[in-house]
Structures are given as structure tokens and as C-alpha cells.
Symmetry: C2
Subunit: 409 residues, 2 copies
Amino acid sequence: MAFYVYKFGGTSVGSVERIKAVAEKVKAAHDAGHQIIVVVSAMSGETNRLIDLAKEMQVQPHERELDVLISTGEQVTVALLSMALHEIGCPARSFTGGQVKILTDSSYTKARIRKIDDTRIRKHLNQGEVVVVAGFQGMDEDENITTLGRGGSDTTAVALAAALHADECLIFTDVDGVYTTDPRIEPKARRLERITFEEMLEMASLGSKVLQIRSVEFAGKYNVALRVLSSFKEGCGTLITYEESTMESALVSGIAFNRDEAKLTITGVPDLPGVAYKILGPIAEANIEVDMIIQNIADDATTDFTFTVHRNDYQRAKAVLAQTCLDLGARAVTGDDTLVKVSIVGVGMRSHAGIASTMFKTLAEEGINIRMISTSEIKISVVVDEKHLEQAVQALHAAFHLDQVVATR
Amino acid sequence: MAFYVYKFGGTSVGSVERIKAVAEKVKAAHDAGHQIIVVVSAMSGETNRLIDLAKEMQVQPHERELDVLISTGEQVTVALLSMALHEIGCPARSFTGGQVKILTDSSYTKARIRKIDDTRIRKHLNQGEVVVVAGFQGMDEDENITTLGRGGSDTTAVALAAALHADECLIFTDVDGVYTTDPRIEPKARRLERITFEEMLEMASLGSKVLQIRSVEFAGKYNVALRVLSSFKEGCGTLITYEESTMESALVSGIAFNRDEAKLTITGVPDLPGVAYKILGPIAEANIEVDMIIQNIADDATTDFTFTVHRNDYQRAKAVLAQTCLDLGARAVTGDDTLVKVSIVGVGMRSHAGIASTMFKTLAEEGINIRMISTSEIKISVVVDEKHLEQAVQALHAAFHLDQVVATR
């Protein structure tokens, strides 16, 4: 007998039929003798419908009341799923976030979980019931309803798995796992059996939007075994785990990429202490998020400073930087907003040299010009012209034999 | 400065525009310096939509989960109304039944209120906020969500007014008050300025379905001044009050009626102790509700026993009675399902003789045959052929000068 937390997103519970299918899946696990907590999102479209209603009331809906409103979406789903379970003879009991209780801070619409009281859930699990919990929501110390922000149902599931020491947290979604890269770009992309939390974080932040980053961080922090798998297809998905295999590791686990990059450079900046802050401070004040940052010191006591932003922020960032250029007495501002970022990710590269050179050699052989490079312990990212995206991903996928590796870890 | 509980039903909050209109009305009272609690129902149609969803899950939806589901309807409205109030600069704060807390028993779908904790509400009223409470719902001792059954929002409003000693509980609805009779039957029907709780109970149970009986009982029990008025039209509605005026009272306050009556008679029943139970026991077991009951003792030591049921139950009741007739050795079963009940109601008749004879005389002059008579302290009911309904109501309305009385109490 094992103890699992199942999580189903909005698409998986998007209709009466799909909720019934989820009930069958849950019942099968319950019949097999497992203890099951099910966390569900609002039916797809419901949260947006409620937000639209709110916007008809207030251009900027009052955040406390917005949480009261949108938390009803998950409440509807837990009730319907519990009914579907009862209908097929599987004892079940629903809980809102407040009933659990999932205690959060008071940051409406983006609350953080502080504590989970497991008393009620344990009692009903021990009575042989399936416990159905509304994702995405909690309650603060004054019993105000809070929500965790978009994607918060994943966080609820992971937090419950951590608090109650579940054996595994299974995130059912519309993809059947984490792939070596996007199959739409590289048809040879392969589902990974396992991936580490760190790799998953690098993959997620780079555009493989399978799971919310927060929930992966949370799972890593509390050592919760997390599995991503399909609601609709059979299969065991991808296990995201803390443990690195003792078997020989693949050097690279996957290729991530991010379209919509833009690069800005300010040249001939007098190289004085605090220059990075003087350049990036005004950008941050304009609420523009910066991704990669590179600074080169030139010979003449001036420096060139380059960073990337989302393409949508390019024009605004350029205007801010033009002012900074005047203020600092720098030479010029240049930029390009037709770029993409391609990254190779893998814990294997920690202990293996030569990964970077393989990457650069591969891109050189393809005639792809590298515009920027940035590295971390388990990731190497390059910025290239957007026209080279597919070519770069495919070439790197082949160069690191990602189509051939079969469950080495 | 006064302290009011306002209650708006589903039709009054049935659209974005109507919720905004409610917000304006509430703000006006708040601006005038009054303390306001607003109780709201689900937007019209929403509860039925949710029940339909439930029935797609389970033919007989699990009652605990049904309450979790349908309580979301009011939760949506309190959030939207609070936003609408914020939008026009009126501070407001929403509460679910559980947040208030409105403590109920655990009879899901038809819970009874046990206790109301006024701490949170008082705090926010004293901070100058409008307090917006979800009607129809509460929480039991184990923090399970409960609902009070259809029409329960009226009960919530009255219970809050009682617990917090509000000056008045104003029920906004789609009629502008309680009338001397149904204006569709008698165009001269007049809105009453005041009516007593007892009269209102007799009127309500006889078909003037302005308010839920439970909420009127509740208001009477806790001496809450209750006012029924229109959400859409200006006007001061009808005040339902405990106090009888010291001024000269009207003898009759209104004419109520009930279509769909059916009458059953069992004749020649041997007149032995327990005969009423032997006749009505099997009817009750068949879940048929009995209204009026009359027993005449005949000369020959047998008795005739007559009662009325809803027309929909007529055939079933007749079949049950046929068996009883055999068992008791009675003579025969007769009946009629084309009847209506017409009643005159008024606390004035307590102390005035001659009301009954005026009623019977009026009907006799109209050539209307009375089939049954039943009386209580403040009500006289007659059963007549359905073809006489309009004629009887109009004649009685005129006979008791109901079109002429102007606020004598």
C-alpha cells in the first residue's frame, strides 16, 4: 500500500465526462489499496470567466474579493469530483483550502503557504476515504480566503505531499512527461524517465512549461518525488527526483529554448564602481525583467554592458537605456530583438569537461553565429538569431545523442 | 444613525447591472450614516445551473457535496457586490457563512442555524465598512459547509438582524410589499403598510409567497422588525411587526387563497376511539400532506370524516382511503379535486364577533356554495368550487372594505 497525492489540472476536469474519467482513475488506485489525496483545479475556462465578471465590476478588482470569487472555481470541482466518486462506490470527501487548513500569508492573489494542518485529512484517509482538496487556495490567520496565484494547484499538491509525507506526488496534465526537447521542433525528441529537480528548474524556466517553477522548487526543497504524466494516455510519465542515479549519467538531459529574446548593449561606459546598478536600476524601476547579463571590460577603462529582456519590453528598455547612456556619458546603445536562446541542460555536465566545446563546435559546423553565451553549473545557454532556432535545437539534440539514450538514470 | 440588514434575492442580483444598482442603493444608506449588513443570494439561475451539474454526476447528489457545490453561488455574489461597492468608493468586506460564523446543525441541504458569532461583523461595521454576507449557508461544528435550503437567504438576513439587534431587516424582492390580496385576481388590491407576523404567516402559508415562512417565524420569535419592499421601485413596502396598533384596527387584513385543493370524504365510519388515526395514519405513511380536517358525528353511531390534500396527491390519497374504507367497514369514499380555498386573515377578528357571518353572507349573496369551513383565531377558510375563486375573492375584498382602509394600524 502506498500513499499518493494526485493532481489534475483544469483541462483534465474540463467537463462532466472528464471528471468522471478522473474518478475512475482515482477509484482504481483506491481499489488497489492505496491512500489517495486528489488536488484539482477549476474546470478549464472557469477562472477566466470569473475574472471577466470581476472586471465588469471593477477595472482593477479588489484583491481580497477577487480571491473570494475565483476560489469558488476549485470548490465546484472538488464537490463534483466527490459526487462522481460516490456514484461509482468510492467513498470521498471534499475540502476547500480553508477547511484543510492550508494556512497562507495574506498576499491576496499570490499567497504563500505557511503551514498545513494534516489532522482532518489524516482522519479521513484513515477512514478509507479519498480526500479531494481544492487546489490554488488557502486561508490566512484571520480566516480570509487567499489564492496562490496561477498554477497554484501544483503547489498545493506538492505542499500536501510534503506535509503528509506522501510516497509520490503525481501531476496529471495534457503532456505525458518531460521531453529532451520540444517534439514540435525535433520529432526525435524522447520522453525522459527521470530528471533531477535542478534540471527541471532549468528546463521549466527556459520554456518547457510542464510544471510551475514554484511547485518544482517546493518539491526539491522538501524532497517530494514528483511525477508528471498524462491524464488521457496510459504511461508512467517522467519522475522528477532529488536522487542522481549511481549509474552512468547522460551528460545532457535536454535542450530548452526561449523565443522572444531581445538583447541590449550599452558601449563605452566609464568603468566605475556601481555601474551595473546604475544601468539596471532604472530598468528594474520600469518593471522590466532582465534575463542574461554580460559585462566586458575593454582596454580603455570603459566597459560594454549587455543584457537580454523579453521582446515585448525591448522598446521600453531601449528608451530607458538611452537616458542612462546620456547620464553616464557612455558611447552608444545598440540592440536586437530578433533573437532566441537555446540551452543544454544536464546535471552530468557538472563533472564532465568538454560539453561546452561540443556545443560550440556543433553550432559552428551548422554555420550558426553565437551572439551571447551564459553558463551555470548544469546549463549552457547561447543566444542566436531567431532564424536558426530549429536548426540549432535539432543539431544539438543529435550531437548529444538525446534520441538514443534510454533510461540511463 | 440606524443599523439595517438588507437582503437581496437572486433576481435583484441577477446581472452585473443589477448588482451595480444594489451597490448604489447600499452606498446611499451608508453615506447617510447607517450601519449596513447586506445579505445576498446567488445570481438568479446559478443555483439551478449548479444543481444540474450535480445531477450529471449523481442521480441523487451526495448531500454534503451538494452543499459544498451550491454554496459557491452566494460566494460569487458577495465578492462581486463587494467589488461593485469598492468601485464606487464604499468600503466593503465579504463573508461566507462559515467566515461569519453562522453555526448550523449538520442537516445538509436543510440545516438550521444554531448560533451566530457577531465578533467579526461588529469589528468591520465599527470600522465603517459595509459587511456583505453570503445568504443561505453556514458551517457545522466540524466546519463542514451547510446550506439552509431554498429561500434560506431570508433566514440568514433575519437571523443576523436578530443576533446583532438590527433596527430593521429589509427584504428587497420583486414585489413592492404585501397586498390585501393578489392584484391579478382583484385589481383593487392594496399594499398594506403594516401586517403582524401572525397574519403574515397565515397569508404566506395560504399562497402569498412573498417571504419564506421560516424567516417570518424566525423574525416573530426574535422580534425582528421585517420590511418587504421592491428592489426596483422606490417605496417603503410593508412592515411586518410584532406590535398591534393601539389605534382602531382593520378587522380583516387580507384575502389569501390556494388553488389546487382536493377534498376526500369517507362516510359511515364506525365511531370508535382512534378512528382519526386509523384514517390519517396510512395517508401520512404515503407521504401525503393533509391540510384541513373535519369530522362530523352522525346520528347512527357512525361518523363522516373529510380532509383536503394537494390536487396532485388526490388519486393516490383516494386509493389509500379505499383500502382504509374496507379495513374499517365504512360505507363509502367520495371526493372532489376541482376545489380552491379562500381565507380571510386578520388579527382584528380576535376581538370582533360577526366576521364569520359577514363572510358567509357575502358568499351566499354571490350564490357561492361553501363546501368546507375551517377556522383559527385569526383566519377563516372556506373551500369552494374552483370556478368561484375570482368571484369570491373580489366579493370578500369589497365586503371588508380592503380597498378603502388606509394605514389604520
